[in-house]
Symmetry: C2
Subunit: 405 residues, 2 copies
């Protein structure tokens, strides 16, 4: 007697469950009930055992888990294309800062934005992410930099969850930069961060991130922040080794971070250290592509050492204004030398791990959230082969239909 489920999809040319590498099933089928995955397997098998209240024939098409973008600064205000043009014409970072450019420009505009501005902005871009099959998006604060404006950002992220079907993961990044008014009083800003914001924002943010870099936060400051954030129960993440080697990897090991992000300048010795941990390496090649002067992260060496590698857009108005995770996936194959199956892992199960969500998302294992994408392509190589075409046809989140191309 066949079991009735809400949705039964059959005859996918390729179904990637992402259990055990790709978990590739040809002529694959997927049974969904109550927003969760019931089972995946061959169409022949599942057709015998399940009856769908709704059924979909996916002949000639590919199904994957919903993509996860595990590192974005999606909630910004304003636009910095003029600064981008100056840079293309040869202006250096310092002269751009002197012209009022850089992150503090975005901070200025963010502080003037209303909560409603932020929500409108956020929805517009989240919809663009959805059109590319992204069902879970991490969003960082970090353009407010004072108590009121960081709170405004985190509350806007929280409010956004009510407007989109996408799963949003909120990360507090108060330690993104020192705001103008605190430039000469770094101790005061540190006190604000660890004694006021961190304890107050725990209900608004799941994770805490920081930017370890020259002209941002030092190794000592990073350690203070991580220790305090850990004590409040935040998941820990860190931007490190984008431009400089300041000791971030050893610190990541000590505090067992969820992820270290960027890694364009990670040394061989640091790769050895990272390989001794369970920390995810989140690579952000969009920034390398956009900034040009930045190195490309050594993806192959990381993978060869069995370090889990995730990929993300790093979507932000200054260094990676790319809202298209497929473009990033292509940079990973065509510039970082990652293989297609490694890239699929990097934007599904490993991205989930970078967010501490690998038990509920990132693969189509039984019991996980039924977040998945139907792609109008016969196999999983197509997005890298016909690069530049968006093959996403339909998207489901929690078993519910969320987007049609």
């Amino acid at each position: 007697m066949a079991q009735t489920v809400d949705l039964l999809i059959t005859h996918a040319s390729q179904l990637l469950t992402m259990e055990d590498d790709l978990g590739l099933i040809e002529d694959g089928a997927l049974a969904i009930q109550n927003g969760k995955v019931v089972e995946t397997g061959s169409s022949a098998d599942l057709e015998k055992r399940y009856t769908g209240q709704e059924t979909i024939d996916a002949t000639g098409k590919t199904i994957t888990p919903g993509l996860i973008d595990c590192h974005t600064h999606l909630l910004f205000a304003g636009s910095r294309e003029d600064e981008f043009l100056s840079r293309l014409k040869g202006a250096d970072y310092l002269s751009i800062l002197q012209q009022g450019g850089g992150i503090l420009n975005t901070v200025e505009q963010l502080r003037q934005a209303t909560p409603d501005d932020l929500i409108q902005h956020g929805l517009k871009w989240l919809n663009e992410f959805l059109a590319h099959g992204v069902t879970c998006v991490e969003i960082k604060s970090g353009y407010g930099l004072d108590y009121a404006n960081e709170k405004k950002m985190l509350e806007a992220i929280s409010a956004l969850s009510g407007y989109t079907d996408q799963h949003l993961v909120s990360t507090f990044l108060g330690a993104h930069a020192f705001p103008k008014e605190m430039k000469e009083q770094p101790e005061k800003q540190m006190d604000e961060l660890v004694n006021h914001m961190l304890p107050a924002f725990r209900h608004l943010a799941e994770h805490c991130d920081l930017f370890l870099e020259k002209n941002a936060f030092s190794l000592d400051q990073a350690e203070v922040i991580l220790e305090r954030a850990q004590s409040f129960g935040y998941g820990l993440k860190m931007h490190t080794n984008q431009l400089s080697q300041l000791g971030g990897i050893a610190l990541a090991k000590k505090y067992q971070l969820l992820s270290v992000d960027h890694l364009d300048t990670i040394s061989e010795q640091e790769i050895e250290t990272l390989a001794e941990t369970d920390v995810v390496a989140v690579l952000l090649p969009g920034a390398s592509f956009f900034l040009k002067e930045s190195a490309w992260a050594p993806a192959r060496q990381l993978i060869d050492k069995q370090i889990p590698v995730a990929l993300a857009t790093d979507f932000n108005p200054g260094s990676s204004p790319c809202p298209n995770l497929h473009f990033i996936m292509n940079l990973a194959v065509h510039q970082l030398g990652m293989l297609p199956h490694e890239v699929w892992q990097a934007v599904t199960i490993t991205a989930a791990k970078a967010l501490g969500k690998e038990d509920i998302a990132g693969s189509l294992a039984t019991g996980k959230r039924a977040d998945f994408v139907l792609w109008s392509m016969p196999n999983h190589l197509y997005p890298f082969y016909h690069f530049g075409k968006n093959f996403v046809e339909k998207v489901w989140i929690n078993g519910r239909f969320a987007h049609r191309h």
Copy 2:
């Protein structure tokens, strides 16, 4: 007394006419009548002098000429993603050829395809081009390689014109490779090309192209083909300096080609030679990106010598399966070092010149075809800044509405 026109578009945040560099008009307006551009100018001015039967308010948006893709092999059959994967895993070109891969694989499949197969295939991809604002597409033959199959391809291109609003430009590329059956009889294939195909296909193809390269056509063979093609009145184009320097640039000068395409390995001396001509340099960075081993064309040196530079997708199943001209435009900015205004020229007026169409297309000059794109972006920097997002909102061809996002 205001003149009535079919369509009056006003208040474009930026209107790029592409006359004289960008021909940028802020708060710009565009008057269209009988499928042609009547006038462009400021909204204040045109609103006084024209009344539109239809009017569109383009506040906050950008208008440009329709994009022109001046180098594609869009009409192929089959798919070569397996070969792509082998290459990613380290296989070299020779071993791929030995496994039955490479261009002769596509030739095999093309010869088996029916005319209807080709038309269906072509329409699918032309529609993808249209969604990216491409209103004029050059399409080459070159996967048939014998009389019957080259004719089949050229007739399919001709038939496609009846199914799409896009302007198609047909190029005979019989000299793309030597087919398997002629490998040992190159003289016989040359005889077929210049004495049978070239004279017979003149009514089906506007231009004649050839592939000057080791393992393809030699300099001597190229000259024979160009001389004959010129005698029949074809416009002349040549793939040259993709992998090797075989003397193509001097030949291009001698025969006053419309364009030389690829140029990844052009020498400084050849750049000097090219600068003495009116030949357009068509750069194809999609192939450099996809093949990796290939060099990037020296775009800056070409531009610095005032050589007209166009960009194209080179869309084909082996070396550039990218159907997205915006992706190519981004490679040009972010990898070739071209500036945004140079890229806009390269995909509009200079691309028109590479097709011999600069008198009727490529800019919004009075009397030219009213092929244009409305972009949901406030300025022309956005496609390079928010790279990976398709800002095309609507497309008009010959003054008629052809696509809505």
